[in-house]
């Protein structure tokens, strides 16, 4: 293999302590693909896991991969790796961001940016192709991300892109994220690591290109994917409501292919634009499929949508872009956009409820618009909703009366919250971002907050909280969607899992019998259960869980979007709605000129997955004294088994799991992964098989290698 095609070929290192800027060849990291895998290798080699997240010795690595910005649809993702400051074990984790910056970064000529050391003053890193400089950011320090990003572009030029931290990152708030102004964000506290190094922004322009070994074949593959395989957002492969060309639509009438005739971007410049029908093979209509606002808020979204946005290279535009006039009355920004938690979950800040603004039923959309701008302005990350649930839970359980000094409690503008005023969110999010008062410890993260405020077992085991493991993060499509399988991959990381492989399928609206056949053909009988009618653990489910788990690492290393990939399903009846799991390998072959097979992709994915596992084992050993990941890392909060008390496990209608069955699930999953069943730690045979013999030696030296 060579890095002449696909890969940019260079890794950029910026040492803020010494001011040195150097590059090195990517070739020696090629086994680790890019993005996450490449970053894990660098972290493993260079940052001892005894290091703390905010130590000068920690590093933070921005990474893209051989498919990023190559033209592969949905390849606009950038991975950001560093050490956790907020989860049990304080091990390695990643934030992930889309938008346009990954393309700029790749075209500037780099596969990764390794930021080392700590700057003496506040700085930003300017990457203008091969001209890389460390510039003063004293004039933007203290600002929100939107002002900072605007100033960076005004100063550097309109063909640059930029990602910045807000006040939360500056103040080392664990719940922090970095943002572009299209509101793409890498979360999980990665912004605070940048803040600890005094880095406000990374500004980048790339005038170069990604070399494609077989451009004609590659373009054909792109068109094949767009004509036959791609669906709506989350790759939902049938439209939400009937369209004349479509055999099926979602039984619920709602999925992430929400565009339909009569549904409009109501505030489009020059008048409403109708989504029309989007026949699956019409490339020129794909952008009208998603209409995420409609999915999130129903018809009211049409009133405020201007258009849609998303990442470079992706035709499925999952960001609804709004102009929300009612917010002007509160002197809040009216232009809001996002696609996930920051724009769908903000009513949780109002435990007493919310009130409508102009139209009946518009409370949610307007509150979410205001909350999005607040969270993204201050660069506050919400741990897939846990931040908001933690606030809500503490409010309802009288925790604030107990933990806040009386003077502080009395000064909280509770009236704003009770009257449903959107300014309430701006107030509380600013407290968190600027670490003002005891209440700001909401930004510490679930694990540390539970300890500081002595929230007790009740907090961890409350079904409302959705915290999946005692490490301090929630399920991200867990048992509620795919039962044992969803829980297995939700507990594998050091943050929420961000795996959408299965929700993309079971949430697609495609008939169960159809996707069941697609999956069973590959993973075996019984791999996927009927909704609300799940069965005991079996070997097919373990194979399915492994596929999703290692596939996520592929996506964050290649890089392609896990909300769209893999191409499991298809909207084409002529294909029996079956996608193409060989497509990643086909793209790798066309881009790099080397022959890639599905097995090659899977082996690389397993390699990176085992790196995550080994580094997690080492961190848990160092920081928790653990020699057993099964017992100490792969924990499952009790609500998963105790919810819905009116049901027994396996009864039709419930998603509550069974403890013994879930232990069997772990057994089978570890076996599929080649991990020791007792400890959940990779065996030497497995590590050697995936080319990580040196990690087996390391585990052995630490007394962690399974016998």
């Amino acid at each position: 293999m060579s890095t002449n095609y696909g890969w940019a070929g260079k890794i950029l290192r910026v040492n803020l302590t010494t001011g040195s800027v150097t590059t090195e060849d990517t070739a020696k990291y090629q086994d680790y693909i890019g993005g996450m895998g490449l970053a894990y290798k660098i972290m493993y080699d260079e940052v001892p896991l005894t290091t703390k997240a905010y130590d000068e010795a920690n590093k933070i690595i921005f990474g893209v991969g051989p498919l990023t910005a190559s033209g592969v649809p949905c390849s606009g993702r950038m991975n950001v790796t560093t050490l956790s400051a907020w989860t049990k074990g304080y091990s390695i984790l990643d934030g992930h961001m889309g938008g346009h910056i990954a393309h700029n970064f790749k075209y500037a000529g780099y596969d990764a940016l390794v930021i080392e050391g700590k700057a003496a003053g506040h700085v930003y890193i300017k990457i203008d192709d091969d001209k890389v400089t460390i510039e003063s950011a004293e004039h933007t320090w203290g600002m929100g991300t939107f002002d900072t990003n605007r100033i960076m572009i005004e100063e550097n030029g309109s063909d640059f892109d930029v990602v910045s931290i807000g006040q939360a990152g500056e103040n080392l708030v664990n719940y922090s994220c970095m943002l572009t102004s299209s509101c793409d964000s890498a979360g999980a506290g990665t912004a605070a690591v940048l803040g600890s190094k005094n880095v406000k922004s990374v500004v980048v322009r790339g005038t170069g290109n990604v070399k494609i070994a077989n451009p004609a074949e590659f373009k054909e593959l792109c068109d094949y994917m767009l004509r036959e395989l791609i669906g709506g957002n989350n790759n939902h492969n049938v439209p939400a409501v009937p369209q004349s060309w479509a055999e099926y639509s979602a039984p619920s009438g709602n999925n992430r292919w929400a565009g339909a005739p009569g549904r409009v971007w109501g505030l489009a410049e020059g008048g409403p634009i109708d989504m029309g029908e989007q026949p699956y093979d019409d490339i020129n209509k794909i952008a009208y499929r998603c209409m995420k606002g409609q999915f999130d808020f129903g018809d009211i979204a049409q009133k405020y949508m201007v258009k849609v946005g998303g990442c470079s290279s992706c035709p499925v535009r999952c960001y609804a872009e709004y102009e929300m006039a009612p917010l002007a009355e509160y002197e809040l920004p009216t232009r809001v956009s996002n696609t996930c938690m920051p724009i769908i979950y903000n009513t949780t800040w109002y435990p007493e409820g919310v009130k409508d603004f102009v139209d009946e039923g518009d409370a949610s959309i307007i509150i979410n618009g205001a909350g999005e701008r607040a969270l993204d302005n201050f660069g506050v990350w919400e741990n897939y909703g846990n931040l908001l649930r933690e606030f809500n839970w503490c409010y309802k359980h009288g925790v604030f009366e107990r933990v806040l000094p009386k003077e502080e409690f009395d000064a909280v503008p509770w009236d704003l919250m009770k009257e449903g005023n959107p300014k309430w969110m701006w107030w509380i999010i600013e407290q968190i971002a600027t670490k003002k008062g005891e209440i700001s410890h909401l930004g510490d993260g679930t694990y540390l907050l539970a300890e500081r405020w002595n929230l007790g077992q009740e907090f961890w085991d409350d079904n409302y909280m959705q915290t999946i493991s005692y490490n301090g993060y929630p399920r991200h499509h867990g048992s509620e969607d795919v039962y044992q399988v969803g829980v297995l991959y939700s507990i594998m990381y050091n943050r929420d899992c961000m795996i959408h492989h299965m929700i993309n399928i079971v949430g697609s609206g495609c008939p169960y019998e159809v996707y069941k056949k697609t999956l069973e053909d590959e993973f075996g009988e019984g791999c996927v259960d009927m909704p609300k009618k799940y069965t005991p653990m079996n070997r097919s489910k373990a194979r399915l869980a492994k596929w999703a788990f290692i596939g996520k690492q592929w996506h964050d290393s290649a890089t392609v979007c896990n909300w769209m990939w893999p191409m499991t399903q298809s909207p084409a009846k002529s294909r029996n709605y079956k996608g193409d799991h060989d497509l990643d390998a086909k793209f790798m072959s066309a881009v790099t000129g080397d022959k890639w097979t599905r097995a090659d992709v899977d082996l690389a994915s397993e390699r990176i997955s085992n790196m995550l596992r080994v580094m997690t084992a080492i961190s848990f050993n160092i920081n928790e004294g653990s020699t057993n990941l099964r017992e100490d890392h792969d924990t499952i909060c009790n609500w998963v088994f105790d919810k819905e008390p009116e049901f027994k496990a396996f009864e039709e209608g419930t998603v509550k799991l069974d403890r013994a069955d879930m232990e069997l699930a772990k057994d089978m999953f570890y076996e599929e992964m080649g991990w020791d069943v007792k400890t959940g730690i990779p065996t030497r045979a497995t590590l050697e098989r995936v080319g990580l013999g040196y990690m087996a030696d390391d585990l052995a030296a630490r007394g962690l290698l399974p016998a």
């Binding site: 309109s158 063909d159 892109d161 290109n209 494609i212 451009p215 290279s313 035709p315 232009r335």
Partner: protein
């Protein structure tokens, strides 16, 4: 309100003839000359043409729609439909350069996304971003400025850069009022739009479309039946 308004009134004679032939039943050639290569703002367009262009009179009144005359038809750009995905740029460079890039693309979106005038995601944080490309000027500033005489009209009347003659001096980039030609930093050769249509073929929003001349003619004639 955006960059598609300010465009040349000049274009190659071959294309003039095609437009003239297509539209002489609906409006004078002079009238269409005014709208070709610039925003349609200020013009009332017939219902059949609106339908063909996939736009509304209101979008035209707002300055969202512009047309470019091309050999294979009329290129219609509707900025209100642009979703900023840059597949036009990617397809342009895949087809013409065998690489993926935005900077050397002959259709330009990247430079309008973050900031274009007051607009863009990083300016007023509004949702104004759009594709922009060569106006195919009749009296081309790029060609006139080229010290090598490397920019010439091909058989279809499209101005192309002779890669043999080009010395990559960038005079064409500077001379073009919209800086549409781009010197490839790797090859040190300039390139500009050759009206290949790859951008249109891959636009997932139909923000870019090419209406064949016979359809334009038919729609124009329909008005007068």
């Amino acid at each position: 309100m955006n960059g598609v308004e300010k465009m040349s009134e000049k274009m190659s004679e071959q294309i003039e003839e095609k437009i003239s032939k297509a539209l002489d039943t609906e409006m004078t050639r002079r009238q269409f000359m005014k709208i070709s290569g610039k925003g349609l703002m200020g013009l009332t367009v017939s219902a059949s043409l609106l339908s063909l262009f996939g736009c509304t009179q209101q979008q035209i009144d707002n300055g969202e729609v512009a047309t470019w005359a091309m050999p294979q038809g009329l290129l219609v750009v509707n900025a209100a439909k642009c979703v900023g995905c840059q597949r036009c740029e990617i397809n342009c460079t895949l087809v013409n350069d065998g690489v993926a890039s935005t900077y050397i693309s002959r259709v330009k979106v990247q430079r309008n996304i973050t900031l274009n005038g007051e607009h863009g995601l990083y300016g007023n944080k509004d949702w104004v971003y759009f594709p922009d490309t060569c106006r195919q000027c009749k009296d081309p500033a790029c060609g006139n400025a080229c010290p090598q005489g490397a920019i010439y009209a091909n058989d279809n009347g499209i101005r192309v850069v002779d890669q043999e003659k080009c010395i990559g001096c960038g005079a064409c980039v500077q001379a073009c009022p919209w800086h549409m030609p781009t010197v490839n930093p790797e090859t040190h050769k300039s390139s500009k739009c050759i009206a290949c249509g790859a951008c249109v073929q891959g636009c997932p929003a139909g923000a870019l479309s090419i209406i064949p001349w016979d359809e334009v003619t038919a729609a124009a004639q329909e008005v007068h039946k």
